[in-house]
Symmetry: C2
Subunit: 406 residues, 2 copies
């Protein structure tokens, strides 16, 4: 099945800036898909640092486990990231570990990098042995075609059932010098038996120590990628890698402008993943304020964003605020029925434990017809707040995940 481009997709892939010190290549290795690229290689110059965050799934893939053992190591040798689509190498037992080792060895041979500086990801079908020899056979050609302008091709090579390639960039002026940030992501279209893997790769020519970059990445991840949900299911392969080559010579340690720009790229890519959610026709922002803590606000917001009843109401353009009350009630975080207030966009829907006096059903219904829906809930208890992003739950989600089979 070929899926149509999501109605929530941006009009086109953005022009990404060159990141000094980073080169990219993509190739068709025929792992599963035919007539398209399915492997990308990124090589980072000596002096680059790499930070990352990974799925916490107890059944995470061999690739993720391997990345986690390497991510904290300090090295000036440079680094490589290699990603294939078509096969996730997840739940492939000891054979999966062997595939990762074989790929790392081949990248090391082709690039001269130590194996500890090679990071791998795989995405696609689960439980089938990865034919890694098809990847290793292409490493010479990949290495020979590395290019500073190859990021778009890399973004395309890692797509599985994505309906569009996802890229984003930002630049920061620091004391007259320019630092560039660019990255790409894939997720979360899926067709049985593929997983909704989210993979994210972000590159900058900024100069920053690895631990500082890791701290920044971990913090930003909590406010961006960890605040999106399509269907509450978590992949065994989710990976975010961020590399700083230092090639701009601009030190960004503790620089707030750099952190803001990096946040923008994270958030942009996170939103694009939601915009490619299976069957999505609405982009939904759920903001919760007034909770006892930020953690409580997040619990409420995710309960709303993951509720099948809320998501089907959005799909049906139904201003069904009762389902939001239900989701808050079941979340487990503190709430008081009579202190809640709920808004759709700017329209106050409910307050004081009941529908608002000023609310007119036609106002709510009109707002629900928009493609972008804002649901705001004030819990009325404290200062905690959180924002999460999701999409609606439609017939197309069922079609993608139930009707088509391997």
């Amino acid at each position: 099945m070929t899926l149509p481009r999501s109605p929530l997709a941006p009009p086109s892939f953005p022009d990404l800036p060159v990141i000094k010190g980073a080169r990219f290549a993509a190739i068709a290795a025929g792992i599963k898909y035919q007539g398209r690229t399915d492997v990308m290689l990124a090589q980072l110059d000596p002096g680059s640092v790499v930070a990352g965050v990974f799925t916490r799934s107890a059944t995470r893939s061999s690739n993720v486990l391997d990345c986690q053992t390497k991510i904290g190591l300090e090295s000036d040798a440079g680094a490589a990231i290699i990603v294939n689509s078509g096969n996730s190498n997840a739940f492939t037992g000891k054979a999966g570990d062997g595939s990762v080792a074989a790929i790392c060895a081949a990248v090391s041979d082709a690039t001269g990098l130590p194996e500890t500086r090679v990071f791998t990801s795989s995405t696609g079908v689960i439980g089938e042995r990865l034919p890694h020899d098809r990847i290793t056979a292409k490493l010479g050609a990949l290495s020979d075609t590395l290019s500073s302008t190859g990021m778009k091709g890399a973004a395309e090579a890692i797509m599985t059932t994505d309906t569009f390639a996802k890229g984003a960039s930002a630049s920061v002026e620091i004391n007259g010098d320019t630092v560039q940030i660019a990255g790409f992501a894939k997720g979360s279209g899926m067709i049985a038996p593929d997983m909704a893997t989210m993979l994210v790769y972000i590159f900058t020519d900024a100069k920053i120590a690895r631990d500082d970059l890791q701290k920044l990445v971990s913090g930003l991840n909590e406010r961006t990628f960890n605040c999106i949900t399509v269907d509450s299911d978590t992949s065994t392969s989710d990976t975010l890698l961020a590399a700083a080559t230092g090639a701009s010579g601009v030190d960004v340690t503790d620089n707030a402008d750099f952190a803001d720009a990096l946040h923008d790229v994270f958030l942009n890519l996170a939103h694009q993943v939601v915009r490619d959610g299976e069957g999505a026709t609405k982009f939904v922002t759920v903001k919760v304020t007034g909770a006892n803590s930020d953690a409580d606000a997040r619990t409420h917001a995710l309960a709303i964003a993951n509720s099948p009843l809320v998501k089907t109401a959005v799909a049906g353009e139904d201003p069904n605020w009762g389902r939001i009350v239900m989701a808050i009630g079941k979340s487990g975080a503190a709430a008081d029925r009579d202190l809640l207030s709920i808004k759709f966009g700017d329209v106050l829907v409910a307050e004081n434990g009941w529908v608002a006096d000023t609310y007119r059903e036609e106002d709510g219904a009109a707002l629900m017809k928009e493609q972008e829906i804002d649901i705001t809930v004030d819990i009325g208890l404290g200062q905690g707040q959180s924002t999460v992003w999701t999409c609606d739950l439609t017939h197309q989600y069922i079609t993608i995940n139930a009707d088509y089979r391997s």
Copy 2:
């Protein structure tokens, strides 16, 4: 929209035994539905004890809050349970509290019972003021028509979007005497903006102290109604009341046969609720063994049973064991990829971190065509186990919850 009877429904409503000391009546009060009954009254003779469990939702209805204040009180006065369908009286602010008070006062007037012995439930549309005067106006007629054979009528009166009335019974011989148990439930069909409220009422003529009945009911509830899930959304009105009239004269304190029989009735009704899940075409039993604890096993089982990807795979008759691995991985409870084993029915699908050597896709595919699907997972770590029941996630679920609006 009139929903067709669920394909998973039992062939007919069972013949329920008379419960000595309990009488039932139902009437059409025109709260919302036309041309059908929508209020039921149960009256229990003096000496009856009542136990209950309730939703833990932070936004639970006025009725639930009122029941919770009364349930622990000891009294020999008898008791009444009154339930309406068509309006849930949930998120109706202080007006909702007033409706409950008005109904309790009217039941007290009609029956001579103290108001503290009147338990109420409401199910149906949320956020609309309950027209409780339509209920109170019928109390004379309800009280006049109470009958020991009225339980089927009562079961029908509390239906909202249920596609069939749900009843179950059991009897126990104790030292030559017979104790009867019978009950009924509603849930969990729903149409926007109704909630998937689950209401359960169980009656027995056994003799037992209130605290002992409460302990029994709370424990059985954990293994039955708290082990079913249709879509992970929790109602603001969920209520289970169990009453023992003592009229048989048979003391069942610490009697294991009685506990088993009561368990059977709980489980039967819980399964019927799943069998009426919105859009359900498959009845799924998820059994997890070998977890570090029973709680961990339950966490894994619910992660599987609530996963939209697992539920759509079942709907699509796809033996997609990778999604089960995913659900275990994300559950948060301990698991080790290489120790898992997964079965569909009797067919071993995966073990040792990979697809089983003996597994043939056609065997899995054949099993998934059945109407009753057993998924068994052994975590391989300890002795903890748990069983939960759910249904599949189909286009009809989306149709019911997104396409039809108030």
